[in-house]
Amino acid sequence: MNDEEFREDLGKVDRDNCADSSAFADVQRIGHELQDGLLALLYETRTLPQVVRDYAIF
């Protein structure tokens, strides 16, 4: 996000033109990767799922 041109491109995105925006596609991809990584970290490692159950879901 430390890229002014990239931020300007994102600022121009709305629902109508998001499909044509490479900047939006990049951010969306990063978002999906982050989500997948978090889910794997929280639920698919050996020890963390128990911690998640005890401390994050209550």
Binding site: M1, N2, E4, R7, L10, G11, K12, V13, D14, R15, D16, C18, A19, F24, V27, Q28, I30, G31, H32, L34, Q35, D36, G37, L39, A40, L41, E44, T45, R46, D54, Y55, A56, F58
Partner: protein, 272 residues
């Protein structure tokens, strides 16, 4: 800092074998920026219980060239009219207005942050102020007042927990409530904008415009908040902003990650 003196980011970079150049640059920019602003604010007279606090990317140590000087004037003392420095004086030194969407336009007194948790008195502004203060803020002046208020708030959360064992569910529930509030309020703002005719989402009549209305813009414009960006990027972008023929897509009609051919990292890929 860890036992070795390395920051968590440095430890992560070492273990992951990644350099994270942008994050490290942001850390340096944050540290130098805080020192610069602290020096500039020292010239202003301060009430002994006042602290000038920078919010958002400053608190996250993620300052970039596009970051604003969103600030809060925090007061660890009784509510009163006269507090130094004035909001205007701070704004002139920082060349910025108090940030996020006007909720920091007045001095913030610790009593409300500490004691008005829950019930009617804990309105949207108070919740937002308290959570941003806890989650993403950094003191520029008055570090003692800043630290004292943080400790009082955390004491309140921990001391009022019903059960002796942890985790501190009172605190966790409030953090979760805040994140949910962000998402609900975003939808509320879109709705209000549509009603007032300022919205250009597909369900609204097209209007000529010179700039994107804040309430209808993508979340990174609507909220200068990390978790708003995070939540809306990986949730809303999949649902609200995914281009479709009808533009009216329910979550139940969206393909899952697996259906989209994306596979989640496995245990082995995480190095366990």
């Amino acid at each position: 800092m860890g036992a070795s003196g390395a920051s968590p980011l440095e430890v992560l970079a070492q273990k992951a074998g990644r350099e994270f150049p942008h994050l490290f640059t942001a850390r340096k920019r944050t540290a130098s920026g805080l020192a610069d602003r602290s020096q500039r604010l020292q010239g202003l007279s301060h009430s002994p219980d006042a602290s000038v606090v920078l919010m958002g990317s400053w608190g996250r140590a993620e300052v970039t060239a596009g970051s604003d000087d969103d600030f809060m004037l925090l007061v660890h003392g009784v509510e009163r009219d006269a507090v130094e420095p004035s909001m205007a004086a701070i704004g002139s030194v920082l060349d910025s207005s108090p940030g996020t969407q006007g909720i920091f336009g007045v001095p913030v007194f610790s009593g409300r942050l500490v004691h008005d948790i829950g019930l009617d008195q804990d309105d949207n502004s108070n919740l937002t102020r308290r959570m941003l203060f806890l989650l993403e803020s950094a003191p520029v002046t008055g570090a003692e007042a800043y630290r004292a208020v943080r400790e009082e708030i955390l004491d309140r959360y921990v001391d009022d927990s019903v059960k002796a064992y942890r985790p501190p569910r009172f605190l966790l529930n409030d953090v979760v409530r805040y994140w949910r509030t962000l998402c609900v309020d975003f939808a509320g703002k879109e709705h209000e904008a549509r009603r007032s005719g300022d919205c250009e989402t597909p369900s609204c009549a097209p209007r000529a415009r010179s700039s994107l209305p804040v309430a209808c813009s993508p979340p990174w414009n609507a909220f200068d908040l990390t978790w708003a960006r995070f939540a809306t990027t990986w949730k809303a972008s999949s649902i609200w902003f995914r281009p479709t023929a009808s533009r009216s897509v329910s979550s139940s009609t969206m393909p899952s990650n697996r259906e989209q051919g994306r596979s989640a990292p496995t245990t082995s890929s995480l190095g366990e």
